[in-house]
Symmetry: C2
Subunit: 253 residues, 2 copies
């Protein structure tokens, strides 16, 4: 009597940005695993059980959820944003890959969601309108040298960049170092967006130039978007400027 495990993306935080598919998956499940602020977003019924855990325990959480599903549970693993972008879907797949054979019999599904960079980009205009990349700035899971290599490659190849996990109490310096590195490879006038809680009441969207960008303009819940030399600022009287990356490339190849 193998059960099911659904990894669900709850979007960036505004309840109106949760898809009906994700809501239906939550309704159908009985046991919920996830970082406690995400579990707290759900209005669970008394018969639905919460197994909230702290951040940075993704693999242990995935294994506990799979273990319960293998015993017949209807299990839901919740992520903010989209579960496939620097979130729980990869941890669940990794746990299956390394786990007992019976975990492969679990009915696995992943329900996509609106990931943070899409919500922040929407508030800013269309900064991701051209080729772009997404990079986690956390060096908990990869060497900082790899991150630096990717930052330089992205800047030189003309990708807009979205940074996830830009900073944390344990990693206060990475974002500032990333900006310092990018200032050597991109014009000082490149727009940088700091987006936090997009679509929520405490939303904060700030646009600065790369020359002025500082690591302490972000916290761990901020998504940072760095444009390219082609990204444009459109002045918007009385409002934040619109930021967009043109669809066509007119620069030097």
């Amino acid at each position: 009597m193998t059960g099911s495990l659904t990894v669900v993306g709850l979007g960036p935080g505004n309840p109106d940005q949760i898809t009906p598919e994700a809501m239906a998956a939550v309704t159908a499940a009985e046991d919920f695993f996830g970082y406690f602020p995400y579990i707290d977003r759900l209005n669970l019924r008394p018969d639905q059980r919460r197994h909230a855990s702290d951040n940075r325990e993704e693999l242990a959480r995935a294994r506990a959820a799979l273990d319960m599903a293998a015993k017949g549970g209807k299990v839901c693993v919740v992520s903010g944003g989209d579960p496939g972008i620097f979130a729980m879907a990869a941890a669940v797949c990794e746990a299956i890959d390394e786990g007992p054979a019976e975990w492969r019999d679990i009915e696995l599904s992943v329900v996509p969601g609106v990931t943070a960079m899409l919500a922040v980009a929407a508030k800013a205009g269309a900064p991701l309108g051209h080729d772009f990349c997404a990079i986690s700035l956390s060096n908990n899971l990869k060497p900082w040298a790899v991150i630096e290599k990717r930052l330089v490659a992205a800047a030189e190849a003309g990708f807009v960049m979205a940074f996830y996990n830009p900073i944390s109490k344990a990693r206060p310096h990475q974002l500032g170092e990333a900006f310092d590195l990018l200032r050597k490879h991109l014009p000082a006038t490149v727009p940088v967006i700091f987006g936090r809680a997009a679509g929520r009441p405490d939303e904060s969207i700030r646009v600065v130039l790369l020359a002025e960008a500082q690591g302490d303009m972000a916290d761990m819940a901020t998504c940072v978007i760095v444009g390219t030399a082609e990204t444009r600022l459109v002045e918007h009287p009385g409002q934040r400027p619109i930021v967009y990356s043109p669809r066509s490339f007119k620069g030097d190849s």
Copy 2:
């Protein structure tokens, strides 16, 4: 009496993947601009007006929508997926940037959606679970040399890649050329996913190795995801293998 313009993302095609925020924006609008298959997805009221247009007319469509909003219209521009990812939001921003000053007074908003690569990745497992990039393979708006440069940069820096606009009747060779180029820079065993109509009744998700990947495995509605040397295939008895990119980087930096 300036009006409003909302650029709305309808998600990948499954109605259960449209956010309540997007549905509310559709309900509130009176005039709808977009590529006709997207307009056709909406159940509009008799008092809501359709201004459907053909593909490849994004800038003209954006200008027509802005013109109507400037005259006081409640205008909605619809995109599939997310409007900020190779879709209408950048075209609208570009039209404002280049258009008459009064267009800057229009109340502009962008409503994010689930973009194709997220829906395809969810069906495959978690192929975007590590740093990744998104590239439009269309050389209508940028030189092919720029695309080639980005493909090589992404492969060498270890980004998973998602390709939008991989192929069309007017551009039948690009995707095959991209695979040929990538085979020089990535191992033959890298997983490649061809995802079409993810979450819809006619869904097709196919996983092959880079050595076997061919341009004719995609059409213009396919999103193609190319892994890295780290991306793993988990055999799944009786089903398609699970594809995921581990969160941690264990390779050579």
